[in-house]
């Protein structure tokens, strides 16, 4: 079995909440040993000198939209996989909101085959919770789990009929299936493209009150309490939703919450003069909400950060703001963008990787996400300080819809390793 030693590294251990100098030995697909010395003596191992840079468990990104099936011109498994590798994402958990939706074992099988053929990183699919994501009948949750679905979600479409959701949750519980919800009151948010407030009023954009998120979350948490289902809220982006989340966790419900990279690093004002690359779902929030969710991430109330990677072509973004498509690509930019929070002193690196790697892996029951003997060798080596100006046309994704075009960032992925194999190396 091949042995690779990564020496002279700064190891980020999200479990211990520490960064320490050390080295790491990979044997085959797994981590064979973690050393506290910078240059341990290991016989017949290929050596990689990390040059004092950071080595962290690879990112597990829940909620990646790939354009297959249906919109391969926006993103294929190959391009999404290349983007992921370039961004230090070693596991993509894909969304089922494709055309058609991933709502049968057969379509799921197609995804798995395409992904295995072309993507250089791990791909784990989510499946739809209801058929056609129509919110009327639950999918074959059992068969879909047998076929490899790791979670069930209707994407950013809310299951409006509470009875349907209650039954789906009750059934899912018997299988131990994880449900990923999009907490949003559907009527209040209907047609909205901005968050209610001064900015939306000034720009004359249809807006949703921030409270709609809490209303949606309250309903979902009520159903979780009633059914005992395992539940993950895809994005909690407002301050007002946090106490409800805290109470649910305190009461012992099996609940976790996520947030997107964009809601952590941008606010509603960034839309400026109707810049459609800043149109995401839910819409960007007020600065005080952004500050609130950063604090929640620090305390661990919010568990998981995702890129919410949503590729859109130029045509669908070159429209009046209300008509333009929603979403932004993020696989490749997530780490350098989030390092803004590290450089600003908002987040420490182990906290960041707890939310990027450890927590999502734990939530999905994956063995990855930490630097420990026996864990899969899914790793990212990065320079946290290297400055760069982002050029969207150099991204690996087929779609270039990033709000960070021309942004000054600090941080560069140097090498990404999946199952012991280097899948990306910076030039």
């Amino acid at each position: 079995m091949t042995k690779t030693l990564i020496s002279n590294a700064r190891l980020i251990d999200p479990e211990a909440g520490a960064v320490r100098d050390g080295a790491l030995l990979i044997r085959g697909k797994k981590i064979a040993e973690v050393f506290d010395t910078l240059t341990p003596d290991v016989a017949d191992a290929t050596r990689i000198d990390a040059g004092g840079k950071f080595l962290a468990p690879g990112i597990v990104d829940i909620g990646v939209k790939v354009g297959e099936p249906g919109e391969r011109h926006k993103e294929s498994f190959k391009t999404a996989g290349l983007a992921a590798a370039a961004g230090g994402v070693t596991t993509m958990v894909t969304r089922p909101d494709t055309a058609p939706a991933i709502d049968t074992p057969e379509t799921l099988e197609f995804i798995r085959r395409r992904a295995n053929e072309t993507a250089p990183v791990h791909v784990l699919p989510m499946a739809a919770l209801t058929k056609g994501r129509d919110g009327r009948e639950m999918t074959e949750i059992g068969f879909l789990m047998d076929a490899g679905a790791v979670a069930f979600s209707d994407g950013m479409r809310v299951v409006q009929d509470t009875k349907v959701l209650a039954r789906a949750m009750t059934y899912a519980r018997s299988l131990g299936a994880l449900i990923v919800g999009h907490p949003q009151e559907p009527q209040l948010s209907d047609g909205a493209v901005a968050t209610s407030g001064k900015f939306a009023s000034l720009r004359g954009l249809p807006a949703v009150p921030a409270m709609a998120e809490r209303l949606g979350l309250d309903r979902d948490l009520g159903l979780v309490e009633m059914t005992g289902a395992r539940y993950h809220a895809d994005q909690i982006t407002t301050r007002r939703a946090l106490p409800a989340l805290e109470r649910a966790k305190h009461n012992g419900l099996d609940v976790t919450a996520g947030i997107s990279m964009h809601h952590l690093t941008l606010n509603e004002m960034d839309v400026a003069d109707y810049r459609t690359f800043f149109k995401v779902t839910p819409p960007l929030r007020a600065e005080e909400d952004r500050q609130g969710v950063i604090e929640a991430l620090r305390s661990g109330l919010i568990d998981i950060i995702s890129s919410m990677h949503t590729p859109q072509d130029e045509e669908s973004k070159r429209l009046p703001f209300s008509e333009a498509a929603s979403g932004a690509v993020g696989l490749e930019t997530m780490l350098p963008v989030l390092l803004r929070l590290y450089h600003s002193g908002d987040l420490k690196l182990p906290t960041l990787f707890r939310a990027l790697s450890l927590n999502p892996a734990k939530r999905l029951g994956l063995p990855t996400g930490h630097l420990a003997k026996g864990a899969p060798a899914d790793l990212v080596l990065f320079d946290a300080d290297k400055p760069l100006i982002l050029d969207r046309f150099k991204l690996q994704s087929k779609s270039k819809n990033t709000p960070f075009d021309n942004a000054r960032l600090q941080g560069k992925v140097l090498r990404t390793i999946v199952s012991g194999q280097t899948v990306f190396e910076a030039t």
Binding site: S196, G197, K198, F199, A200, S201, L202, R203, G204, L205, A207, P209, D273, Y274, E315, R318, L319, P320, F321, S322, E323
Partner: protein, 316 residues
């Protein structure tokens, strides 16, 4: 006296001195418009295209007359009936028109921000004739001119803007302009028709007409759209008229010489009493229409001067 704008997309980018420059020029055009021979040649040789993606009678007519009086070649395009029905995007339509070398493009569109988007893709001067709920700058400018001529000044006035603020681009542009010229602005209307975060706009908010109109110099009524009357935002037309319709009684708490304005078209008996609207001692509604032509002439004249000062560009 300077006017540094390339387009007129909204009131937001205008400086107070630019607003004054425009109103001063408009004053001159009011005089011209009242003569028998109304022709000037400020826009001679220029092509003006009016693109209205949303139905309009008075604004479109006003822009057309303004352009013709200044000697422009004016063309009206009824966009609802044309290529957007065939699936052409706004940008493609803009590029197609741009290739015909217009100099002035007057655009109305139902989506907020659509006119900004279009202005990025053409190399002529673009005038916003109303975009969604965002801005309607020439309406605010004509209102300002009407106020200035009636009151002799455009600062330190108590101005009440009443009705459906939330869905009104007229209200937004007026708030921005009147605030920039240092007036005291009160917004009066049912809370369901107030935009979120309005308290941050430097205005006072009232949900009662009698307190909102107290000592007002100017009472500006807004049109209530038919589709908002049926129980969604207000209980009924008659309750709205009872609580928010402007009549002699509610107006009596305003200053004795307060003027009454309305951007039109009016719903008599919904937001304003018919007799009051016709009272030439109080209502300046017809003056507003007259000022509209003059303000649009001034706006197009100033933009054309800036256009002529710039070297001819190639297509961007």
């Amino acid at each position: 006296m300077r006017f540094d704008q390339r387009h007129l997309l909204g009131i937001e980018p205008l400086r107070p001195d630019e607003i004054t420059t425009l109103l001063d020029l408009a004053d001159k055009y009011v005089t011209l418009n009242r003569r028998r021979d109304k022709h000037a040649n400020a826009l001679a040789g220029l092509t003006q295209i009016n693109m209205f993606f949303e139905a309009s009678t008075r604004t479109q007519a006003s822009f057309e007359i303004a352009g013709k009086r200044l000697g422009a070649d004016v063309m009206n395009m009824a966009m609802q009936a044309s290529s957007i029905k065939k699936g052409e995007t706004l940008i493609d339509t803009a590029l197609t028109l741009n290739a015909m070398h217009p100099d002035l493009l007057v655009v109305r569109h139902p989506q907020s921000g659509a006119v900004d988007l279009l202005a990025q893709k053409v190399n002529c001067a673009v005038l916003n004739a109303g975009d969604g709920r965002h801005e309607h700058p020439t309406q605010a400018l004509l209102d300002a001119l009407t106020i200035r001529r009636a009151k002799g000044r455009l600062h330190r006035l108590n101005i009440a803007i009443c009705g459906d603020i939330a869905h009104s681009r007229v209200a937004r542009s007026n708030i921005l302009l009147l605030h920039r010229m240092e007036n005291r602005i009160r917004l009066v209307g049912p809370p369901t028709l107030m935009p979120a975060g309005i308290e941050h706009f430097g205005v006072e908010v009232f949900d009662d007409m009698r307190s909102g109109l107290q000592d007002a110099d100017v009472v500006m009524m807004l049109r209530l759209q038919k589709e908002r009357m049926d129980g969604g935002f207000i209980p009924s037309e008659r309750e709205y008229y009872h609580r928010y319709g402007l009549d002699e009684d509610k107006l009596s708490v305003a200053k004795p010489d307060a003027i009454v304005m309305h951007p039109g078209p009016m719903n008599r008996g919904v937001e304003i009493d018919g007799t009051l609207a016709d009272d030439i001692n109080r209502s300046v509604i017809q003056d507003q229409v007259e000022m509209g032509v003059a303000v649009r002439m001034a706006a197009m004249d100033l933009l054309a001067r800036n256009l002529r000062a710039r070297p001819k560009e190639v297509m961007v």
